[in-house]
């Protein structure tokens, strides 16, 4: 390794492939414009999309490049244990969302996740969640944008600010014009382009190390050793690459963290709300679970290949950080042609991440903040217009955040850590509110607020050195668990002391009160057995369990 930088040797044909993609993405935005007449057309694609489209968009919205690059880095650093982030840390929660929670979300016709809180609890709970979600989305959009610019700078040699502005302008154009349909259609396209970019890296990487067996032998000789090839074997203690016990993996990652992220994050759930009927909405996250099962093949395997082929990988700074595992393999293994496709896939995934943040933000801002509290009672066209302006504002703030992030490199990590603190208490409030009809509106508000503060306090005490955990990961397990317990305790104490909501108000929002119609709007073709959400969901979970066998 000569340490000659990450710059890729792109030629004209590679740039042609990249340009073709940008043109297509913009074209999709413009072509989606004619299908927008109402605010629901703009924010929720008119609730008209088929399940395979919303399902792939669901997985793609999460497949930001931070995720791809980060998971390949985890693969190189922690080895096969990284599969926990997929098989136990995502698939069960996605299936749960589809089977159990989606009937309440889709059936009640709420237009966003915060709106569910308004109907189930009260306006303060709603406002708290709407504001924290909106702020989180614009800041995270900026983080995504900055990461995009960093990669374009490192790989293509573009100046940072050019990359920020180009990336932002493209996302801005296709969402402002094409609305959620523009975002979702591009996410589906991005999903395939990302795969087309990652599969060649994986295949050639495997050829280079002598196939799967060669890779396993090489990993045994690497600094990870035998432990790098097992997901569960050493989890009786924390003496494993991830530094986590099985109980932390199952309850912390598999339950509290993953359910918090997947089931209440509106940037994800929005994709399901845009489905054309109840059956398609429920299948959305479940269809997404299937690609999720296989994505570790194209992230963790390249990570391991990089570990054993790139000498010195794992440096604290510079070109040999774990985060550069995939870019380094692209540089070393891909000839022009597939190189262009791979770069396009990487850039596509950055834009997918940012677009999901922006389209989630504009909806919550318009429906949950502007319409609910600031300017109620205007026409639908008015809110459609506000949505377009909110998109512009989100991208502009995102650019600002990107430049702040450029000045303080650690701020990206802090922003992401900060907002992940909101997930666990939010999920706890949702799940208790959905299954315990007596839970009162005031209890909802205080549970959410105190749960979030508990999570925040744990994080700050850890960062301040007051309490000690083995790793950041362990802190997040515990912080999430403490938040969950706080929410439950506050709910149980406050509910008997405060007035309940009437049953009629909770119909369709809470389990056991009726008002949820699973079959009403189903098309004839959706009744066939292989489109049953329950069956598809159970198969996905069983597959996730079976996949663990060879890497136990």
């Amino acid at each position: 390794m000569d340490g000659g930088g990450l710059r890729l040797n792109m030629n004209g044909l590679d740039y042609l492939i990249l340009a073709l993609y940008f043109v297509t993405v913009l074209g999709v935005g413009f072509a989606a414009r004619r299908a927008i007449r109402t605010s629901v057309d703009f924010f929720l694609s008119g609730r008209s999309l088929p399940a395979w489209v919303t399902g792939l968009a669901f997985v793609s919205a999460n497949l930001g490049a931070l995720e791809i690059i980060g998971m390949a880095a985890n693969g190189a650093q922690y080895g096969v244990m990284t599969v926990h982030y997929y098989w136990i840390g995502a698939v069960p929660a996605m299936v749960f969302l589809g089977i159990v929670m989606m009937p309440f979300y889709y059936g009640s016709k709420v237009r966003s996740v915060p709106e569910y809180l308004r109907l189930r609890f009260n306006r303060p709970t709603h406002l708290l969640n709407a504001l924290s979600f909106a702020v989180a989305q614009v800041l995270i959009a900026g983080v995504n944008l900055y990461a995009l610019a960093l990669v374009m700078q490192a790989l293509l040699g573009w100046p940072l600010w050019t990359a920020v502005v180009v990336g932002a302008a493209i996302v801005l154009a296709y969402i402002t014009i094409g609305g959620l349909s523009g975002a979702i259609y591009n996410e589906v396209l991005q999903f395939f382009v990302i795969l087309a970019g990652l599969i060649p890296v994986t295949v050639i990487g495997l050829v280079k190390v002598g196939g799967v067996n060669g890779l396993m032998d090489a990993v045994r000789d690497s600094k990870l050793g035998e432990a790098g090839l097992h997901a569960w074997q050493d989890t009786g203690s924390t003496a494993n690459p991830l530094g986590a016990q099985w109980i932390g993996i199952v309850f912390g990652l598999g339950f509290v963290l993953s359910f918090g992220y997947w089931t209440t994050n509106f940037a994800e759930v929005q994709r399901a709300l845009s489905a054309k009927n109840m059956s398609a909405a429920r299948r959305t996250p479940i269809i997404a679970a299937y690609p999720k099962l296989f994505i570790p093949l194209v992230t963790i395997i390249p990570g391991l290949v990089a570990l054993v082929t790139v000498k010195g990988l794992g440096a604290e700074s510079g070109d040999l950080q774990y985060n550069n595992a995939i870019p380094l393999l692209m540089r070393d293994l891909l000839p022009n042609g597939v190189l262009g496709v791979a770069v396009t896939g990487l850039l596509a995934s950055f834009m997918a991440g940012m677009a999901a943040n922006v389209s989630g933000f504009n909806t919550v801002f318009t429906y949950d903040i502007w319409q609910a509290y600031l300017r109620p009672g205007r026409s639908d066209e008015y809110y459609l217009r506000i949505g377009r302006w909110a998109t512009v504002a989100a991208v502009v703030v995102g650019i600002g955040t990107a430049f702040i992030a450029a000045g303080f490199s650690n701020i990206m990590n802090y922003i992401q850590a900060l907002f992940s603190l909101f997930n666990a208490p939010l999920f706890a409030t949702f799940i208790i509110g959905m299954f315990w009809k007596r839970m009162s509106a005031l209890a909802g508000f205080w549970s959410l607020l105190l749960g979030t503060l508990a999570s925040l306090a744990t994080y700050l005490l850890y960062k301040g050195g007051v309490i000690d955990f083995n790793s950041d990961l362990e802190e997040s397990f515990w912080g999430a668990g403490i938040a969950f317990v706080t929410v439950a305790v506050v709910a149980v104490i406050m509910t008997p002391l405060t007035a309940p909501k009437r049953d009629e108000e909770l119909r369709g929002l809470v389990y056991g009160l009726g008002g949820v119609d699973l079959k009403g709007d189903v098309l004839a073709g959706d009744a066939v057995w292989y489109r049953s959400p329950l069956l598809l969901g159970v198969i996905a979970v069983v597959l996730a369990a079976l996949f663990y066998i060879p890497v136990f």
């Binding site: 999709v28 072509a31 609730r47 259609y185 395939f192 699973l518």
Partner: protein, 102 residues
């Protein structure tokens, strides 16, 4: 789950739902056409690059003619998307309760 009665009503949601009768969502195009088109184009470009790949490029990819293979796979995938759309066109959305003139 039982189906006794309607979900709870909310004025903001009801307003938006009422407006949705004017929806233009039925005019949305089919994304399979775009995916198919882009991948056919990528397939052709990358396959051509693969046919004319030099020894150095093949050696870089560990002796695999990756451009040729990737190009052909992308081309096949693109054609499959187009064929799928042609054989199973999108189902027309269910008619709205009130179809406006426009």
């Amino acid at each position: 789950m039982s189906n006794d009665g309607q979900p709870a009503q909310d004025p903001l949601i009801d307003e938006t739902q009422a407006e949705q009768r004017r929806s233009a969502a039925a005019r949305l195009f089919d994304i399979r056409r775009v995916i198919g088109g882009l991948f056919v184009a990528y397939g052709i470009v990358v396959t051509l690059i693969g046919i004319f790949d030099s020894r150095a490029e093949i050696d870089k990819a560990e002796g695999v003619r990756i451009n040729l293979w990737a190009g052909l796979v992308m081309l096949t995938f693109g054609l499959f998307m187009l064929l799928w759309q042609w054989l199973r066109p999108a189902e027309p959305p269910p008619p709205n309760e009130q179809q406006p003139g426009a």
